[in-house]
């Protein structure tokens, strides 16, 4: 285990805590850079999807994992981003402007949805976001002249400054660069007073308030930022899929986004990337494994939800910190081998935090 002897305040601010981290992240960056030469086109396209979903999950993580506001309607923000991008692009807006506009439109929707969050919390907030998600979906269906209704809307080829981004490799680089910028942005945000306020609100609203944190302001900001990230991802998603229909952004999508975040590990940036990565890898494994299973089992459409349901339940029961928590344990095990003890990450026994008046 690295024990860092801090001699300067700058060390507290550094993005990387020690040389090892710089090495490994540089290796990761190199791997991402070389991926188009090493991997097949199909794998690259799957990685592009992971990147897009990582951006949404990053937003959801900011909201659910760091601010403690659970949203059950996050697919709605994704839809706002996707349709804004499709509409603006069709009207001849360049990508460099339409992408921030998608984020802005989704962010404004996020503020609208965040408004009830100022009055209600916990379960009521979940229900409010769920209701908004359904209403947004219906709005998308009804606004046929913009969204094409249930039939869906075709998204045109993405060309930026004469470069064709419909090509797999170019689009992969575009998504990767945007995802990295988003990760760095959120990472920096969490080290700023705003990020600290988010975490304080998550841990206890009452104590955050008594520290002078304006709950209304910070919750709204959290919703807006989270939605804006979803909007960016939505715009990229629209270009990736090329045909967007309302049912891609339904309640099930919201649930699956939340599942990815929880599987990845609530309350960690890495979790927001592990979650979708794990999701797509398992999905791929199921598709490949189908052929080896007996046809009665392999051809079932319910196979995938069953497996993901079991994974989620197992994670909630046995590993509340998700894959990231599992990785932390494994890393510690290696670092201090052979001194790892079972109880090192044992959770403090927590008592029921009742919302009731006792």
């Amino acid at each position: 285990m690295h024990f860092i002897f801090k001699t300067r305040y700058e060390q507290d601010i550094n993005l990387f805590r020690h040389g090892g981290q710089i090495f490994w992240y540089a290796a990761l960056a190199l791997a991402l850079l070389c991926a188009p030469w090493l991997l097949s086109e199909y794998t690259l396209s799957q990685i592009t999807f992971i990147g897009i979903y990582a951006i949404v999950c990053l937003g959801l993580m900011l909201l659910a994992g760091f601010t403690g506001q659970v949203s059950l309607g996050h697919a709605g923000f994704l839809a706002m981003g996707a349709y804004t991008e499709a509409y603006l692009q069709a009207n001849g807006w360049p990508f460099m402007i339409s992408l921030p506009m998608s984020a802005l439109v989704a962010g404004i929707t996020g503020i609208m949805i965040g408004l009830p969050a100022l009055r209600v919390k916990g379960m009521y907030l979940s229900i409010a976001t769920l209701a908004f998600g359904f209403i947004l979906e219906q709005v998308v269906v009804s606004a046929e002249h913009i969204t094409g209704g249930n039939a869906g809307r075709q998204v045109e080829k993405l060309i930026i400054a004469g470069v064709d981004f419909d090509d797999g490799t170019n689009f992969y680089y575009l998504v990767t660069v945007i995802a990295v910028i988003c990760v760095l942005g959120v990472l920096n945000l969490l080290r700023s007073p705003t990020g600290r306020a988010f975490v304080a609100i998550r841990d206890s609203e009452v104590s955050a308030q008594s520290m002078g944190i304006n709950l209304a302001h910070y919750k709204t900001v959290a919703f807006a930022l989270s939605a804006a990230l979803a909007g960016i991802a939505g715009a990229l998603y629209a270009h990736k899929i090329r045909i967007i229909t309302p049912d891609q952004f339904g309640f099930l999508q919201s649930i699956e986004l939340l599942m990815m975040v929880v599987i990845g590990g609530l309350g960690s940036i890495q979790g927001a990337i592990f979650g979708p990565a794990f999701w797509f890898v398992v999905q791929q494994l199921i598709v490949t494994g189908k052929d080896w299973l007996p046809p009665e089992l392999g051809q079932q459409t319910g196979l995938q939800p069953t497996i993901f349901g079991i994974i989620l339940i197992a994670i909630v029961l046995f590993e509340p910190m998700g894959l990231y928590g599992r990785w932390l344990k494994f890393r510690t095990f290696l670092e201090i081998f052979p001194f790892y003890r079972k109880g090192m990450f044992k959770r403090q026994k927590s008592y029921m935090k009742s919302e009731r008046l006792k």
Binding site: I127, G302, T306, F308
Partner: protein, 295 residues
């Protein structure tokens, strides 16, 4: 007359929402868990009833009883297996667990032979029959399916009222839902009572599933109706049993009226619009206790 017609059919669907909301409320009051799998419990209830009637060939009433018993056992088993180990964890953990359970249930159900992804019809004896109230051809036409739902709901609520009011177990459940610690000190086995509440709530959902089945058919996504029971529970005041009933009726009737008088598409979101208005105007619901948390 048309308005009355719409209100009656809305009230019938509202009764289904009310029954599912009742399931939420019972579990929420006792364990402070919001059960997002309530609608899926209803779906499982529908499938059990279907299997009992078509595969085993049991008469309707026997299948009905069998469903109630099976669902009660199923609910108790679920609580014991996956929810009790999480006792004392934050509310979000529990919510995620129930979301996972619902997701799993929708997947597993399609893999069970005979249940599958198809839509099934529950062969109830009162299928497609109508009753004329106030004169043949001129009065109010009520389908028997709707009538059965309303009558069964009223009977069930009366039964539950008597259960909570007069039996030892019912009173113990009330005590547990008011204050777990005090109930524990009074010698009530709180964990076992929680398990029984899950059983009771699942059984109610099973009934709701059987009642709804003749109208919407039995299929794997039937449980999404349960999502409309959230608005019902919130409108009535989460944690209030009469509130769940009134909330369910309000949502059902509003939905029915919106489907007729408003443009297409409003029917599906009417419930959610109502709940948002309610959350902004009166977050505690019609019958909710106006309590604020003390530090």
């Amino acid at each position: 007359m048309q308005l009355l017609q719409l209100i009656v059919s809305g009230a019938a669907i509202g009764c289904i929402y009310a029954l599912i909301a009742l399931g939420f409320v019972l579990i929420y009051k006792a364990t402070e868990t919001v059960n997002f799998a309530q609608g899926d419990l209803m779906m499982i209830g529908g499938f059990i009833g279907l299997t009992a009637m078509t595969v085993a060939g049991l008469p309707f009433w026997l299948a009905f009883l069998l469903t109630i018993v099976a669902m009660a056992l199923f609910g108790m088993g679920t609580e014991r297996l996956v929810l009790r180990p999480l006792l004392g964890q934050p509310a979000f953990t529990m919510v995620m667990m129930t979301i996972g359970l619902g997701y799993l249930a929708r997947g597993v159900v399609t893999m069970i032979p005979y249940w599958g992804t198809e839509t099934h019809t529950l062969p109830v004896p009162y299928k497609d029959e109508v009753i004329w109230l106030g004169g043949e051809g001129t009065g109010l036409v009520v389908s028997v399916e709707h009538l059965v739902i309303i009558v069964a709901t009223v009977a069930l609520v009366a039964l539950l009222y008597a259960f909570f009011r007069y039996t030892r177990l019912g009173i113990a459940m009330q005590a547990t839902s008011q204050n777990q610690l005090a109930a524990f000190y009074m010698g009530i086995p709180v964990r076992r009572v929680n398990m029984l509440i899950w059983g009771l709530s699942s059984a109610i959902c099973g009934v709701a599933g059987l009642l709804l089945a003749p109208i919407t058919f039995v299929h794997a996504n039937m449980g999404f109706v349960g999502l409309k029971a959230f608005p019902a529970a919130v409108v009535g005041g989460f944690g209030s049993i009469p509130g769940a009933l009134v909330g369910g009726l309000i949502i059902g009737i509003v939905e029915s009226l919106a489907g007729f008088y408003l443009p297409e598409g409003f029917k599906d979101i009417a419930a959610y619009v109502v709940v948002l208005i309610m959350l902004v105007v009166k977050p505690n619901g019609l019958f909710g206790d106006n309590l604020t948390k003390k530090v």
